[in-house]
């Protein structure tokens, strides 16, 4: 083959692939960015919308979770934003303050469906008396236990633990089964997982975790120390697998799914996931407990939906938000797929009748909390945050008091910025 022939074949191949790549575009009326871990739930709602609104369809773009903040911030500054965005509700205060979102007060104040949205969502999406978003694909933390392992260990498989001490006692009995079976699991290097499942136990025990403004005391109350001490004891006694220490969240779901973990803090999403991926796993769901009987709490998570400033189709986007809060969509889009509705009053519905475990998550939404704070990323979610450093120093190194004090100082200085 001569050089000329070789080059032209080469060029031809390149050009063909280039043209092919351009043939793959299609027009969509509205664009919506959704963070990856909320994409499955959001797709149910968007599909429902698209079947009834052929003239104004929504195209979903899935953004990797940890890139959503960067992407929305750069997009907003460059004026290149989607019409709708669904993201982790915890970033709402920062985005509202930065002025990235459209004020929806006038639209949502008069919407009776909005009035029924869970307080946690209404609260996190309000800034200076103005509303900037609504609950979209809710989630809430819960405690799951493996009924088969409970049975094997001689525990009542139908009764989940109701205090932290009970978790410890049950975990001890399950670990006694030996081998690869462990009593308790948590992702020791995942700050987000632990604010979701460990902090509610502290809150249930009366603690206040994050400071809303300078001058507030972070990690306030005995609950913080009580929970850390109990977890440190479980770690020392070998009730938690060694792999938990380095788990940055990769095994947050799979550890329990494999069937050899007795108890784990998890989220409502776990119910449908386990039913689909591990249909033989017999598990129970209860609300995360505190130190004393009757103390309960949960972390309200999931996504909020908002309209970025600069949305080219804000009117239709607003219509979508009104639409997603209606009874029909809450039931057919969310409840039907084992996802709790944003409006707690709809928890008692025909789809949940057969699945009492989802009803438990709906109840957890009622007792749940979500911290309205700025700098959540610096205080909690970043890999070197004071929150995760406190957990690691206290649980794995054993210095509970020192860990709390250090995290308190560090959080105070972040909030004072």
């Amino acid at each position: 083959m001569t050089f000329a022939k070789r080059s032209s074949a080469f060029a031809l191949a390149l050009t063909t692939s280039t043209f092919l790549s351009f043939s793959t575009s299609f027009a969509a009326d509205l664009s919506m960015w959704v963070r990856a871990s909320g994409a499955g739930a959001a797709q149910h709602l968007v599909d429902l919308w698209n079947t009834g609104h052929a003239d104004k369809k929504i195209a979903v773009t899935v953004i990797p979770d940890n890139q959503m903040v960067t992407k929305l911030a750069t997009g907003s500054q460059a004026g290149d934003v989607p019409d709708l965005v669904s993201f982790d509700l915890i970033y709402m205060p920062d985005f509202m303050k930065a002025g990235f979102l459209t004020d929806l007060t006038a639209d949502l104040k008069g919407d009776p469906n909005y009035a029924g949205v869970a307080e946690a969502y209404k609260n996190i999406a309000t800034y200076d008396g103005k509303i900037y978003g609504a609950g979209f694909t809710p989630d809430v933390s819960i405690l799951v236990w493996n009924k088969d392992l409970f049975k094997k260990a001689g525990l009542d498989p139908e009764k989940g633990p109701t205090t932290l001490a009970e978790i410890h006692a049950d975990a001890t009995k399950i670990r006694a089964l030996g081998g690869d079976t462990y009593g308790y699991y948590f992702s020791g290097a995942c700050p987000g997982c632990n604010i979701f499942v460990t902090s509610p136990m502290m809150v249930a025990a009366g603690a206040k975790i994050l400071p809303a403004k300078a001058g507030d005391t972070p990690l306030d109350g005995d609950g913080v120390k009580a929970v850390l001490t109990e977890m440190q004891a479980m770690w020392k006694e070998g009730l938690i697998p060694a792999s938990a220490q380095a788990d940055n969240g990769a095994s947050f779901v799979s550890a329990f799914m494999s069937g050899n973990i007795g108890i784990e803090g998890s989220g409502g999403f776990m119910i449908s996931l386990l039913k689909e991926k591990a249909p033989n796993l017999n598990f129970g769901v209860t609300i995360l407990p505190g130190i004393k009987d009757g103390q309960q709490s949960a972390f309200v998570g999931g996504d909020v939906v908002a309209i970025p400033k600069g949305s080219k189709q804000a009117a239709v986007a607003k219509e979508f938000i009104h639409w997603e809060l209606t009874d029909e969509v809450q039931l057919e889009g969310l409840a039907k797929n084992n996802i709790i509705p944003s409006r707690p009053a709809l928890a008692d519905n025909k789809y949940f009748k057969d699945e009492p475990r989802v009803v438990t998550t709906a109840k957890a939404l009622g007792v749940g909390y979500v911290p309205w704070v700025f700098h959540f990323n610096d205080m909690v979610n970043s890999d070197s945050s004071p929150w995760i450093q406190m957990l690691q120093t206290a649980i794995f190194d054993g210095d509970v008091d020192g860990a709390i004090k250090k995290a308190r100082d560090s959080m105070s200085s972040i909030v004072a910025q």
């Binding site: 092919l20 575009s25 990856a36 979903v60 953004i63 990797p64 990769a250 779901v253 991926k277 591990a278």
Partner: protein, 297 residues
């Protein structure tokens, strides 16, 4: 002293057998080491493949099982149908990679020729300046570049993304092409001039065929870099239908709170390795000579 003198007499058949035996033994030893190293290199790929054909619950099991207990294509199905469909992402990635290759070649071949064959004042300084982008972390450049591209209407286009990938690729490409042109003997160029070739004709007729391996190397590197690039693609592209394969790979594996869908991840990795492996296999005979061009004189 009348001692016996040992001479290096003829090798007896016994000696020859011994030597042959030794050679055989050495051969086996080298073979065994090669097989061991090969197995070590292949192990991650084989394990990935096994994980990809397990049902997703088994792929995520803790502790992991190494050999699949049951066979399932659900992970491949998940990757194929994720978001806008694998075809869209592969099409976008190929499109961007193709543009990147074209831009890189069009810019780096003449640049390499110029730097290698002409007496340009401050040539070395120019060359170092051309290499400086290698020394700046490109993540720092992306946000300002994005704002600029958004103003020019280049954000969210494959063309724009290819320009970014070319910017990242150019220093190395110019470096390679300069070496490739420098390795062409002066005598050939002089012969061409004596035969009446203009600079352009000698460039096309004499140099280009000789630096072809270098161009292939530039092509390979541009392709692999563009095919694997994640951050710029994420920042510059805003639509699911314009995302490239690496973004899909990150999204497809994400569960709640960073939980990883291992099965889907492994299936995605294997699929994404294919084009790189194929292009490398087809072009490998040019590749080594291209990379070493000008390395030794």
């Amino acid at each position: 002293m009348t001692g016996t003198v040992t001479t290096p007499a003829h090798k007896t058949p016994a000696d020859e057998n011994r030597i042959a035996g030794q050679n055989n033994l050495n051969g086996y030893l080298v073979g065994a080491i090669a097989v061991f190293i090969g197995a070590l290199m292949l192990a991650p790929l084989v394990l990935s493949f096994f994980a990809s054909i397990k049902p997703s619950a088994e792929a995520s099991a803790v502790p992991p099982s190494y050999l699949p207990h049951s066979f399932s294509l659900e992970n491949y199905d998940h990757v194929l149908n994720f978001g806008a469909g694998l075809g869209t992402y592969v099409g976008n990635s190929l499109g961007v990679a193709a543009f990147t290759i074209i831009f890189s070649l069009v810019l780096s071949v003449p640049a390499g020729f110029g730097l290698a064959r002409f007496n340009i004042p401050y040539k070395e300084v120019l060359f170092v300046i051309l290499l400086t982008p290698l020394m700046i972390p490109y993540q720092a450049l992306l946000t300002p570049l994005y704002f600029m591209f958004a103003k020019l209407g280049l954000a969210n286009t494959l063309f724009g993304l290819a320009i970014v990938h070319t910017i990242l690729q150019i220093p190395f490409s110019v470096y390679l092409m300069r070496n490739a042109f420098e390795s062409v003997p002066r005598e050939l160029e002089e012969a061409a001039v004596i035969d009446g070739c203009s600079t352009f004709v000698s460039f096309r007729r004499v140099f280009l065929p000789l630096v072809f391996p270098g161009m292939v190397t530039v092509t390979l590197f541009a392709f692999i870099a563009s095919w694997n690039e994640f951050l710029a693609a994420l920042i510059f592209m805003n639509k699911e239908t314009s995302f490239t394969v690496p973004i899909m790979l990150v999204s497809v594996r994400i569960g709640h709170f960073g939980a990883v869908d291992w099965g889907a991840l492994q299936a995605g990795i294997l699929i994404s390795i294919l084009p790189c492996a194929l292009i490398y296999i087809f072009l490998q005979k040019y590749y080594v000579s291209g990379l070493l061009g000008g390395a030794v004189k």
